[in-house]
């Protein structure tokens, strides 16, 4: 009886697990063998783009809702189904925004570099979408399995900087240009800790392939502690650094200096309106999703379930859950922290994150060298590795925050 149930559960589970692949194969089954590859690729691309475009739409409204709730407001709740009184908690808002953006006049300054002005948002969006190619969304659900997947991800991500520059320069507006340069300085500064923080993962996993890295994180210690990288000292530190750097790389608060409305009149986006602006916006969210997806893949076990019995839930669900959690933390942080000044921002990168990432590299080396320590001695391994991270963190942190004190006012009280 129970065996039969187990069988049914297993087959149902495997069916669910392979559902996306089965659906794809079903769709392209009738095609000749040679065309099937192309069709499969197209379907994959379309699925990813559509999925993330809808996620983007959802995120815009969810973000506004979260921000509103943090500020004790209900948030956008008016737009529902048009021409009816059904409001649906305002879920029609993204659609309305989209229509508004599409129908707005596309203003291009006369002195602007027309071609580049057009190319900038397109390039940004294209590169952002490219980064999704190597993220494993589930078991066997990776659009492009590359041997050097991580490298590909960061190569494609690095190219987005170019688009920022193009936008700033093509606008022929000195504020835009200055803002673009500042944005570039920020992006380049944080590229370093971002890359350094993933080196331990690559080192310990012994692979540059995203699929391989996720597979390395399978299994549980004592049956309930997953082998995710974030549950090691170096992994936790690496994830923290990666997370902060990802915040900065995706121009999210508190590092949203490149787009700061109040200081830079929206930076390199000043001269953009309408659909191009929407493209920029979309690319930002895509970049954020891609970075979060990479964080999930590298540190949070990718599509692995957190507990053994939860494996019956399909892997792509777990990936989505982790991704959404990370995105929620992004919003939460945006709702909490004020924007950093440019000097504080670069100081944080160069004087705090980079040294810490380098130390973390050393800790990872220590971890790798002591891989054969078992039994009680493992506690020592943990204590040493933890101390090697926490100590520098406290020391560098003290150095970083020294000299920062509540502001004193001479003439006002």
């Amino acid at each position: 009886m129970s065996a039969a149930w187990t069988n049914i559960a297993t087959s149902a589970h495997s069916l669910l697990e392979r559902l996306p692949l089965l659906a794809r194969d079903f769709t392209t089954d009738w095609l000749p063998e040679s065309a099937r590859w192309l069709a499969n690729s197209l379907i994959t691309i379309a699925t990813v783009v559509v999925a993330f475009a809808s996620l983007f739409a959802l995120l815009t409204i969810v973000e506004r809702k979260v921000l509103a709730r943090v500020q004790n407001r209900p948030g956008p709740n008016r737009v529902g189904i048009p021409f009816t009184k059904i409001k649906l908690f305002g879920l029609g808002q993204p659609l309305a925004d989209g229509i508004k953006m599409l129908t707005k006049e596309d203003i291009v300054p006369r002195a602007a570099d027309q071609v580049l002005h057009f190319l900038a948002p397109v390039a940004l969006l294209a590169f952002s979408i490219l980064t999704f190619a190597v993220i494993p969304f589930g078991r066997q659900l990776v659009p492009l399995e590359l041997d050097a997947g991580v490298l590909y991800f960061f190569a494609a991500g690095a190219a987005t900087e170019l688009a920022v520059f193009m936008a700033g320069w093509a606008s022929h507006n000195k504020y835009s240009l200055l803002a673009a340069m500042r944005a570039l300085a920020q992006l380049i500064s944080y590229e370093l800790p971002l890359l350094l923080s993933i080196v331990p993962v690559v080192m310990l996993a012994g692979s540059l392939s995203t699929v391989g890295i996720v597979e390395k994180q399978a299994g549980w210690t004592w049956g309930f502690v997953p082998h995710w990288h974030v549950f090691t000292p170096w992994g936790a530190a690496g994830f923290a650094i990666f997370f902060v750097a990802a915040l900065a790389e995706s121009n999210r608060s508190p590092f949203d200096r490149p787009e700061a409305e109040s200081e830079l009149i929206a930076g390199h986006l000043t001269e953009y309106s309408g659909f191009k602006y929407a493209l920029f916006f979309m690319a930002e969210y895509f970049g954020m999703c891609a970075l979060c997806g990479m964080g999930v893949t590298l540190f949070l076990g990718g599509w692995q379930a957190p507990l053994p019995f939860l494996e019956i839930i399909p892997s792509y669900f777990w990936f989505a859950a982790k991704l959404l959690t990370l995105l929620f933390v992004f919003m939460w942080i945006r709702a909490t922290l004020p924007r950093l000044r440019i000097d504080q921002l670069t100081r944080l990168a160069w004087k705090f994150l980079v040294p810490l990432a380098l130390i973390n590299l050393g800790v990872a080396v220590f971890w790798a060298l002591t891989a054969d320590w078992t039994g009680a001695i493992r506690a020592i391994r943990w204590i040493v590795a933890g101390a090697l991270i926490v100590g520098p963190f406290v020391l560098i942190g003290r150095k970083l925050s020294s000299g920062i004190a509540p502001r004193t006012y001479r003439y006002a009280t």
Binding site: V70, N72, R73, P74, W332, A335, T336, V394, G397
Partner: protein, 217 residues
Amino acid sequence: MLGSGLLQGLAVTAKNLVGSFHDPARLTTVEYPEQRTKLPEAYRNFPFLVSENATDPMGTLRCVACQICEKECPPQCIYIEKSKDKKPDATGRPQLYPTVFDIDTSVCMSCQICVEVCPFDAIKMDQVFEIATTDRFTALLLDREQLAKPNDYYHTIHPTEAAEVDARLAAERKAAAEKAAAAAAKAAAAKPAAVAGLGEAGAPGSSTPATTKPPAA
């Protein structure tokens, strides 16, 4: 340690986020067009003309077309035309009345000077703010009919002030009535019977004989 402040901040925002769902006291937002809050009494915006009652606003305007407000208005947004004839006012004395009283609210700056200078408490500040229209020219030029609002409305928006005004007007009328009574008593020496009847009729709202002079004069 570095980061403790960040965590405290995150805790505060998380508390707010969660609290906004289960603690209705936190959500202070008013769903505006459906729900409205009562505006504070001190809020004032654009003048209106006070009429004594709502049934015949044009007939019971307090305004006597003295044109002081028109002269004092800094942006010159008031336009008044006097009537040719006279009608009895609240105290019963015959007064002029405005045949045209226009305020261009696209020019008006809600400075309240017209209210300050009006000797008859005939123009008061309103609380309207939903003044958006689709017509730039005529819709914002309010005429006599649009401006006239009953004294009860005045009581609903500025109750304290309205009470004061009413008390003052009542006192004036009483004084006017007493004066009239005194004058009637003097006249009663000559014609006592007729004046006694008129003195009874000197209550607010009723008309006064055309022979009596305004108290201010």
